[in-house]
């Protein structure tokens, strides 16, 4: 009994220990092994349940948007449908094609799902003890590990020994790799303000830097736009869901997969959706902070509220993902690549340059700035209240976006001519001339031509 109590005291968070009036036995393994393990189990459990229920939400949202009801028969309002689907997938036969590269085929979905789940460890789910690992390179870690997921897709497509899988893998890996660049570039502008890569550090920075701690989306509207668009492409969601365009293709890289291995890919996709939404919330939308949260003085309540706020912000973004999917039509493949390479990546780069320019101009005059709209506080450079904040909002929204839009529109209009536009116009002109010629000829001669 005593042993159990001691163990519990080892792992309990501060607020539980303060209730018991006992001294916490301060041991290394409690701090770094047992408590993180408990957090990991909780987070994995919650996220996997959430992934299952995201499929339910997806079906409900799509149904409501299309004037249907969606799943209604399993449980009240079909709430047990994800459970039934999970059991069905578990019981299905696990088919491995005879000519497949067996070992790689078996391991590919695992790579995919692990890459998506490992990232969850550095995501700041809330203030204080709700964060599992506050790594000082958190954001870099997220970007690095989530791109390993592409490896799973490529291996799956290659090892299946099927042309559909291979082509699907080719399409999706090309898409994910190109959108990853835009995604990585788009958050750098926000990092310039935060001056840290730690996820919790970025959230803390936003509380001091922005108006009421709302988030960097105020200063980085272009960054938000590029990030959200690239995140859609990165997670293979509509309107960029070409890898598994269900109305056009057999399926994507997972054509040969069945049963639970297929479910693992599915899980990876939805988990990476949660991850990209979480990163967007952390970097641009103020993380677990919301104006007014600072008024809460009870530390326990503070942490719980922060977790709830974070979850709600992620939920709003996930709803937006679904909303977009069931509203907008799918891009053509060349349009997708054009958007990725000709718009998202240059816009991300231009955003970095322009943000840097605005930032340097606003530095305090002692540090070589021109406007002097920032000051030092608690060892950090922050925009001066209202004048600095207004300056960054105005430059972000009304200067950066028009400049980048005008620049890219001009460049891309020329390159479109360079590629196809002129050819298409020539084709149309030739066809028109042919038609006019035919109309000018009398009907009889046309008939004889037809006979010949």
């Amino acid at each position: 009994m005593q042993l159990l109590l001691t163990t519990l005291l080892l792992v309990a968070p501060d607020w539980v220990v303060s209730l018991t009036r006992e001294r916490r036995p301060n041991l290394f393994w409690a701090e770094y092994i047992v408590w993180p393990l408990i957090q990991i189990v909780i987070v994995i459990f919650i996220v996997l349940t959430l992934v299952a229920y995201l499929t339910y939400l997806e079906r409900k949202v799509s149904a409501f948007i299309q004037a249907r009801l969606g799943p209604m028969r399993v449980g009240p309002w079909g709430l047990l449908q994800p459970l039934a689907d999970g059991i069905k997938l578990l019981l299905k036969e696990d088919i491995v094609p005879i000519k497949a590269d067996r070992a790689v085929f078996l391991i590919a979905p695992v790579i995919s799902v692990v890459a998506a789940l490992v990232v969850l460890s550095v995501i700041p789910w809330g203030a204080g003890w709700a964060t599992i690992a506050n790594v000082n390179i958190g954001l870099l870690f997220v970007l690095a590990v989530s791109s390993v997921g592409v490896l799973g897709l490529v291996l799956a497509g290659w090892s299946s020994n099927s042309k559909y899988s291979l082509l699907g893998a080719l399409r999706s890996s090309a898409q994910m790799v190109s959108y990853e660049i835009g995604m990585g570039l788009s958050i750098i502008g926000a990092l310039m303000f935060a001056r840290t890569l730690s996820m919790s550090g970025i959230i803390d920075a936003q509380q001091t830097d922005t108006l009421w701690g709302l988030g960097y989306f105020l200063y980085q509207p272009l960054g938000v736009l590029v990030y959200l668009t690239s995140a859609l492409g990165e997670t293979n969601r509509a309107p960029f869901d070409l890898p598994e365009a269900e109305s056009e293709l057999v399926a994507g890289y997972h054509t040969e997969y069945s049963g639970f291995r297929w479910a693992l890919f599915f899980m990876a996709e939805y988990a990476s959706m949660i991850v990209t939404a979480a990163v967007a919330v952390t970097v641009f939308f103020g993380g677990w902070y919301f104006p007014g949260l600072g008024l809460v003085k009870n530390p326990t309540l503070y942490v719980f509220l922060s977790v709830v706020i974070y979850a709600l912000k992620i939920a709003a973004l996930l709803y937006a993902y679904m909303w977009f999917r069931w509203t907008w039509p799918r891009y053509r493949y060349d349009q997708l690549m054009e958007l990725g390479w000709k718009w998202m990546i240059p816009a991300g780069l231009a955003n970095i340059v322009l943000t840097g320019v605005w930032y340097v101009l606003a530095l305090p005059k002692a540090q070589g700035g021109v406007f002097g709209l920032m000051h030092e506080e608690k060892g950090r450079l922050i925009p001066t209240k209202f004048s600095g904040i207004a300056y960054f909002v105005v430059t972000g929204l009304f200067v950066t976006i028009p400049i980048v839009w005008g620049l890219l529109a001009n460049i891309n209009r020329r390159s479109r001519d360079f590629n196809l536009h002129e050819q298409r116009q020539l084709q149309m002109q030739l066809r028109r001339e042919r038609l006019e010629k035919m109309l000018q000829q009398p009907a009889s001669s046309q008939a004889t031509e037809g006979v010949q």
Binding site: F64, I65, A67, R68, L69, W323, W405, R432
Partner: protein
């Protein structure tokens, strides 16, 4: 290159629409409205004005049009519960596919003080497997006894079940009721 010029002719309004992605947001608003309405609107399956059109058929009664013709029925006199049919055989004569058989006998019927010799209905067989629901029998009926109702659940497990006798025609079939 006249076509190229006309296609590249762009007004300021067009430019603003492209810049602010107005068309995309219009589409989003349409779907969002449907989604929001689906959450608060009272459900009324099959009503085209509702946000959710689905009718959960075995749980909810299915909607059919007012002029829909389904299962036949022999109406009873609402006052004394006897049949309205006078066994005139007009419906059987009117039927283009001969799916009605009317059986009758002549017997003395006491009506008030008088005793009349009358044709009385004994059996009425209606073959729903051959019926094409053309409504000619209903139009022929002089007493509004035979009627085609809105019920459409006519499927049975055996062919013999399609031959509806007088009892079925008068009382209707017992359908399975599903709980919601």
């Amino acid at each position: 290159m006249t076509a190229a010029k006309s296609s590249s002719k762009r007004t300021i309004g067009y430019l603003i629409r492209r810049l602010l992605l107005i068309d995309l947001f219009k589409g989003l608003m349409v779907t969002f409205k449907y989604n929001a309405r689906a959450l608060y609107e009272k459900r009324d399956g099959g009503n085209p004005n509702q946000a959710i059109y689905t009718e959960q058929y075995p749980l909810e009664p299915a909607r059919v049009s007012e002029r829909f013709r389904g299962a036949p029925r022999l109406n009873l006199d609402p006052e004394n519960g006897t049949t309205l049919c006078i066994a005139c055989d007009l419906c059987a004569l009117a039927c283009p596919v001969d799916c009605i058989e009317v059986g009758s006998i002549r017997r003395e019927v006491r009506e008030g003080e008088k005793v009349n010799k009358k044709k009385v209905l004994t059996t009425f067989i209606y073959d729903t497997s051959r019926c094409m629901f053309c409504n000619l029998c209903v139009e022929a009926c002089p007493t509004d006894c035979l009627e085609l109702t809105q019920s459409f659940e006519l499927a049975v497990y055996h062919r013999a079940g399609f031959r509806w006798d007088r009892e079925m025609l008068e009382k209707g079939i017992n359908y399975v009721k599903y709980k919601k």
